[in-house]
């Protein structure tokens, strides 16, 4: 673990340097390779300069004193650590215990995924200025963290959950992201799947919660081909052509979900993947077991309440008990002010109003949603919904 500790520390340095350089010159084409090279050079610099001031593992210290072994040691630290993939290692580095979780996430998304402050703000339901401040402060904390530390079991477990959450957010950003360019960024979903698969290959990280996360991603990724329709437009779960769902990914997701059902811990990933599995099991919208879905959302609200979960629960209740009940649930969401920038809150209101026949109210909500749309695909999707509120457009399917 000493090598890992060495790498951790200098990777932090490199990450901080990356933040400075990338802010000035933009993100390089291959940020991961750039970071690796920088981190190695930083390692050599730091060790040469601060050999005596730093506390290295004793059996390593003497070999860092001589140029005979310094470079190969650093190489080794970066090549064959406990965690093989440098991106994962960097994720673990960004999850520094002195940083609040949101700052860790902001750093990971910024450094490893190349997200701008705006995208991160949207993914974390926060303001852009707040995220910028958080990244700057996070960078400062990492720069001040001089002590080399070992990642003990407890520390590893704590960081693992943050890494999982970051991967979850990465996937979500790809799946219903706020990027200006596209509503669906399959590349981000693929990255999240790849990194999660990597976590699963690393035994201490391959816990049931990690399996559940992987299941969740597979089951959602299976729906990606149907999420954008033939015209290139965003297509909601309600109207998707389910024959285009990826059967292989669905099967993989279900197998992973089964694997995850061990141990005592029930995580939000378990419940969310169970919800996705219910959808995957329904060949048509009408076949959907909304009772199960609502009860799963109830459990999710019990262990991980959030306004977005509450929103999805309200939509499911609307499906189970009718539009009026769904609207009541939407209005009753406690901290719905946190959804004030989220276009799918007014969109859900519009959908339910439309279903119970109030086209005027529906149109008003869709207009509100349209004003919040974060990219062209969302805008087109919401414009289409808005047009279907027009009384002359009687053929429109809700």
């Amino acid at each position: 673990m000493h090598n890992l500790a060495l790498a951790e520390d200098v990777v932090q340095d490199a990450c901080c340097r990356a933040l400075e350089v990338w802010e000035a010159d933009g993100v390089p084409e291959n940020p991961s390779a750039w970071l690796m090279a920088t981190a190695k050079n930083r390692a050599l610099d730091v060790i040469r300069r601060e050999r005596t001031a730093r506390a290295f593992a004793p059996e390593m210290g003497r070999l860092l004193e001589t140029e005979w072994t310094l470079a190969p040691l650093v190489d080794e630290a970066f090549a064959a650590g406990t965690i093989r993939d440098e991106q994962l290692r960097m994720m673990f580095s960004c999850c520094h215990p002195r940083l609040p979780e949101e700052a860790q996430l902001a750093l990971i998304l910024n450094i490893l995924c190349g997200f701008g402050a705006k995208e991160i703000a949207s993914a974390l339901l926060s303001g852009q200025a707040a995220i910028e401040k958080r990244i700057a402060r996070g960078k400062q904390v990492l720069a001040e963290a001089r002590r080399l530390f070992e990642l003990g079991d407890a520390e590893f477990a704590a960081r693992l959950s943050t890494v999982r959450r970051a991967l979850y957010l990465l996937f979500s950003e790809g799946y219903h992201g706020a990027s200006a360019a596209a509503a669906v960024r399959a590349d981000l979903c693929a990255e999240a799947l790849r990194l999660t698969a990597l976590l699963r290959e690393h035994p201490p990280a391959a816990t049931p919660a990690t399996d559940a996360l992987a299941a969740l991603m597979c089951l959602h990724a299976a729906r990606l081909p149907a999420r954008i329709d033939a015209a290139g437009d965003l297509s909601g779960l309600v109207e998707q052509d389910r024959s285009r769902w990826d059967a292989r990914l669905t099967a993989e997701g279900l197998a992973l979900l089964e694997r995850s059902a061990t141990g005592a811990e029930l995580t939000p990933y378990h419940i969310e993947s169970a919800i996705a599995a219910v959808h995957a099991g329904a060949r048509t919208l009408e076949e959907t077991d909304w009772r199960s879905i609502v009860s799963l959302y109830d459990r999710l609200m019990a262990i991980a309440p959030s306004p977005v979960v509450a929103l999805n629960r309200a939509i499911a209740i609307g499906q189970r008990d009718g539009a009026a009940r769904g609207l009541e649930e939407l209005a009753a969401i406690e901290d719905r002010d946190r959804l004030s920038r989220y276009p799918f809150y007014p969109a859900a209101q519009g959908e339910l109003e439309l279903r119970r026949g109030d086209r005027v109210a529906a149109a008003k909500h869709f207009q509100g949603a349209l004003a919040l749309a974060r990219n062209e695909a969302e805008r087109r999707f919401l414009e289409k919904r808005l047009r279907s509120c027009d009384p002359s457009n009687t053929g429109a399917k809700p």
Binding site: R62, T69, A71, P72
Partner: protein
């Protein structure tokens, strides 16, 4: 226990052979690291020494003539040194046998640190 300086020597062709490409250099460095680690683990590494750059100057004679050196044609340039602790010359020699520099035409010169009478 006594101290022995290990002087590592090789010619340039040999050096190129082992460090010529990043892959070869990495393999050589890996073998080197393994060997040094073993010496360290067994308590034989008195001083991890330093490698020496091949470019330098040589100052010679009363006239202090300065030339570039060591010489490119030299058969055995000193690449660097470490100091090993061993029971006797025989054990020190034995310890040198695992040195990965002995793969090519390289050599290890084992020289006891002299103890002059006080």
């Amino acid at each position: 226990m006594s101290e022995y300086v290990f002087l590592f020597r090789a010619n340039q062709a040999d050096q190129r052979e082992h460090m010529g490409t990043p892959e070869r250099a990495q393999a050589s460095m890996g073998a080197w690291l393994t060997w040094i680690r073993e010496l360290e683990a067994k308590g034989h590494l008195k001083n991890p020494g330093q490698p020496l750059d091949l470019a330098g100057k040589v100052v010679r004679g009363a006239k202090k003539v300065v030339t570039d050196g060591p010489y490119a044609e030299s058969k055995d340039m000193v690449l660097g040194f470490i100091i090993v602790e061993a029971r006797d010359l025989a054990q020190a020699t034995e310890l040198s046998m695992g040195c990965p520099m002995l793969g090519g035409s390289g050599s290890v010169e084992i020289r006891p640190v002299a103890k002059y009478p006080a």
